[in-house]
Amino acid sequence: MSAKLRRLWAFPCCACLLLLMTGCWDRTEINDLAIVTAAGFDLTEDNKIKLSVQIYAPGNPGQQQGSMGSEPQIGGSEALVESAVGLDSADAAAQLQEHLSRNIFWGQADIFLIGEKLAKHGISEPLDFLTRHPHPRERANMYVIKGSPEDILKWQPNIERNSAEVMREMAVIQTGLNITLLETQVSLASETRTALMPIIKMTKSGNKASPTLVGAASFRNLKLSQEYNVKKTRGLLWLRNEIRESTITTKVDGSEGFASLNVFNTASTLIPSIGNGKWKIKVKLLATGNLTQNSTTANLSLPVEVKKLEEAFKKVLQERIEGSVRLAKKSRTDVLGFAEQFHRHYPKEWRASKKNWEEQFTQIEVDYDITLRIRRIGMTGRNQFLIEEEES
């Protein structure tokens, strides 16, 4: 063996020895992980933190061997829920680890739940734990839970794998807010230090209780300040330009039935202005929708009638938004993003009134400039059944 060959082999050999003989691989096998799919934080009676985690239990794959080719059973493996109480979240997590034979792995947790009690007490505690820890996903969804988070974690859904999956899908289809850990962090760090989180409650629908979105909670100074119901939440969404698709229903003047509009395209902008010391916000909203139902007698083949209908929808929309704004003002929590707009357009004035913004916020006058278009009136022009009734 030539000297060159020997030198050539020396390097990989040394490298292998260096790497393999240290004995400190930080490798962890998936079999050694307790994969947390969702976690809930709540406050106990004695002001301690109760941490509940939903852990994916892989079950025994050997059981499935007999039925090869058959589709895997969904929900065949029960979600395992464990909880522990500690002085703070990290302590609770450490307590929890003692119950488990595997390492808690936060990297796959998609959902973080905060109990109502803890939300009222202050969410700084779990948020600090979740953001300081390197594992939790910043894209995980945040929810406030009415009742105990543990109950929702334990709930076994019929169509999804576990309740975490149900709640993730809830956020994705965007009927309510889709708030992630990152967004919470960002909005809490911005000027007004407010945040908004959807609220979930176990409600009975059909023969089984299931988690339902019941609105949203706004946070001021890291504490729950105001709850919005579903309608008011949607008002907020219109303002925040977060509506993807929605249906609004209204009664038309001088007619019995209702008309519904499926809004598929919206764009809202907030335009701040300061005149004579009066702070104003103009909400410019552009909505386009298709008519999905018309039980009124209006003959929509006439443009005049369509205009009338548009006006009616506009009114409903404005009322909705106004309701939400009123509630926000009442709770002195600027979840509407007004502060940001003033900061951008009137930085000097903003800085001057930054100190008592909460007071200022309640004084802001809100104008509405809503443009609503009905794009298509559907396959039928006027409601034939109703017309015939009239004639006969």
Binding site: L5, W25, N31, L33, I35, Y56, Q108
Partner: protein, 515 residues
Amino acid sequence: MSSSPPMPVDQALERQRALLSLSLSGQLDQDIGILRQLFEDGSDIIFRAFRLANGADLALVYVDGMTAIQEVDMSIMRPLKQRTDADTPADWSSLLMEVTLPSSSRITTMEDASDAISSGSTLLLMQGEASAVVFSMPYWNSRSITEPEAESVIRGPREGFVETLRLNTVMLRRRIQSPAFKLKELKIGRYSKTTCAIAYMDGIVDPGLVAEMEQRLKRIDVDMLIDSSLIEEFIEDDPFTPFPQVQTTERPDVVSAAIMEGRVAVLVNGSPIALIAPTTLFILMMSPEDYYQRSYVSTAIRWIRLIFAFIAVFMPSIYVAVLSYHQEMIPSTLMLTISKSREQIPFPALVEALLMEATFEALREANVRLPKQVGSAVSIVGALVIGQAAISAGIVSSPMIMVVAITGVASFLIPSYPLGLALRIIRFPIMLGAGILGLYGIVLVAMMLTIHLLALRSFGVPYLSPMAPLMWDQLGDTVIREPLWAHDTRPHWTGGLRNKLRLRAPKSKQHHAKE
């Protein structure tokens, strides 16, 4: 060693050297005697002594089976015996007048004589002449030209090289009917004296490249040149690398296309594989089919090939790294499925991956080596080992089987077999890196690999050219394949670019209309 008594081997060597150093004496009996001694125990050497009408004693020496005997009879024996009479003078000049076959050379030494006989030529000796005449009419049975099995194409020529050099050169000459097509012959091997031919296009190739190739070939001093692979190992720039630095092919169309690009090919007698140098990684990633299919299709196929080459090298490593270090990177649903299937697996992901990849390589090797009759048995067993049975046995998880299967298929997409082997081998160190340091380990090993590839040269041409160093004008035939009419300049591998235009694209229709 010099003090020890001469061994029998030494004695044999001495005797051979002594006999070879002699020259022809002109005494037929003596010369034949020496040749008989040289070819002692050579049962296939035929000595045919005969006398002509004018009393000249002659002898034919040839190897049985390597010489066309009918030809010898028709063109040498018959004219000599029938057309000479007692008046014909017994010397070479007058006797050779009668022989209808032209002699190829006249030799005077024993060494030349033995070389001529060994190469299949017929030696004609005559009493009283100190020189012998060589008639070169070697004849041997050759495999017929068949479709190259290792490099098959759907559309394109179906002929492949055979083990006979002359047939191979004919295949090339038939494609390039030009005097500029050169075939420089030289013999390599102390004992085997194998004929090699350097094929190139005069006026296109860089003369320095031919000179370099010739010099490197002449440096080879071995007993026997068994195959062109021996040449490859002796002439490559960097011997300490798994990557092939010489392109190998058994397709005459590939060789002729390569030498028309100004590259040099080496053909070896007894090997159906031609060597082409210089080569680059991108050339090795190309299939001849690329040029026979439409350019868009070829480009798409090249991309598939490149992507799957990447998969073949990195996929098992990424799987190992992500599974043992970066579990948060896996999409949740997939993670849960993987965790379910890995639940009963006793080994860490790295061991699992090494086990399965090694098994796959073993199966592949077994399938190549086994006789065809047994081959199907290996396939069946292989399907069991890398398949459902392995999962049921609880040794590997099903995602791992998927990874191995995809990697296996991907590695067969690489058109160059030596490059495919190289990539399959480097996969293992990368896997180890992934198992020890995760994605960071993969990056480290990949960086080392990149540095190595950047440093690699093939006859002075950077291995990653024209990507690194970047040569814009040559990128048309790398990850994309330009339409042939647009690819109008020759690549310049070494030296300056001379004679660069290789085609003139047909003029467009509008152009014609204007004229």
